[in-house]
Symmetry: C2
Subunit: 200 residues, 2 copies
């Protein structure tokens, strides 16, 4: 059985949102599972001296045009959320907590969080919205709310973000296929070829 | 007759080198010409607060792995030149001078400069190398050497770089298709679709 594809994403990343929509059909064509890794790009940006693309002159303007164009292409609901980008630490912690208990449910939750933010413009930077999306996904929101106060979950989240950074993950989406890195939703066609040919 | 595809590239950009190899077959499939625009990314980087990708932690390491992988994929000769990146102002001025006289020859010259730098590791940051590549391409190197001293060519180059910046060009490769921007060699598949469908 081949190793799963590691899929790293930041909930504030619209390109991660598009990738979350595309990665599973791609993986299935190659009989691969996907391991979803919600992360926070802040530490990687600090280390690499980058800032969020949306706030940069020129690149930010391009992104404003590019993201809706990409979502139209894949018939993916899209709205610019406000605020954007947003701190998604509660969303990441919540997803990790769910994932430790039920990975398949965590994937549904991750998709619902992305959809809430970029599809419906709900502010998933707020813990209440994260809990609301959890409830809509059939999770025990009260248990999750309690877990979000637990220092152990904070440590667990920090460790997960650190582990991604150690693997060289610096953007969203970011993929590892048998340790081979692919950065960006626009690299999916090349990754598709890589999987089909077993590298080159 | 549809408008040509505008192709912006920096000679220090390995992704521009790959794109220079791929753009013409792509354009030909859509019965389009390509207008080649050598530029200098320095002013765009200054404006957007970016630095060359190669020097950034994490991103730089990814690029070191990614570029040779991409060149293997397209069976494109590749070597890491030294120094890299390099100031390519002489190469850009020379290409613009040739392009003002013979655009088709300027395209051959541009490909030869890219090939000299990323294929053969020759330092095209040095004017002597630019002139050597010019001579190998069948150009009048003595006339070019004289032109490179001409303040009018410097002004012409600065104006071309400024014009690109005004159009929002901030990276290499960068394409404009009927004013629609596409950034990055990994966006060529999407641009291909855009051309086929006339947008969406």
């Amino acid at each position: 059985m081949p190793e799963p594809i590691d899929f790293y994403f930041d909930y504030s990343s619209p390109y991660g949102y598009v990738a979350a929509h595309l990665i599973e059909p791609l993986a299935q064509r190659h009989i691969r599972e996907v391991t979803w890794h919600p992360i926070l790009l802040g530490p990687a940006m600090k280390l690499s001296g980058n800032t969020p693309m949306a706030g940069q002159p020129l690149k930010g303007a391009y992104m404003r045009q590019d993201v809706p164009r990409l979502c139209r292409r894949y018939r993916l609901p899209f709205t610019w959320p406000e605020p954007f980008p947003v701190a998604t630490v509660a969303a990441v912690r919540a997803t990790i907590w769910v994932g430790d208990r039920d990975p398949a449910l965590a994937v549904r939750f991750a998709k619902a969080l992305y959809r809430a933010y970029f599809g419906d413009g709900r502010n998933i930077g707020e813990t209440e919205q994260v809990l609301a999306v959890a409830a809509e996904t059939g999770l025990d929101a009260a248990a999750l709310a309690a877990a979000l106060q637990d220092p152990a979950l904070k440590d667990r989240t920090r460790a997960a973000v650190d582990a991604a950074l150690k693997l060289g993950v610096f953007g969203s989406p970011f993929f590892l296929v048998d340790e081979e890195p692919f950065w960006g939703v626009d690299r999916l066609p090349l990754m598709d070829e890589w999987l089909a040919r077993g590298g080159w």
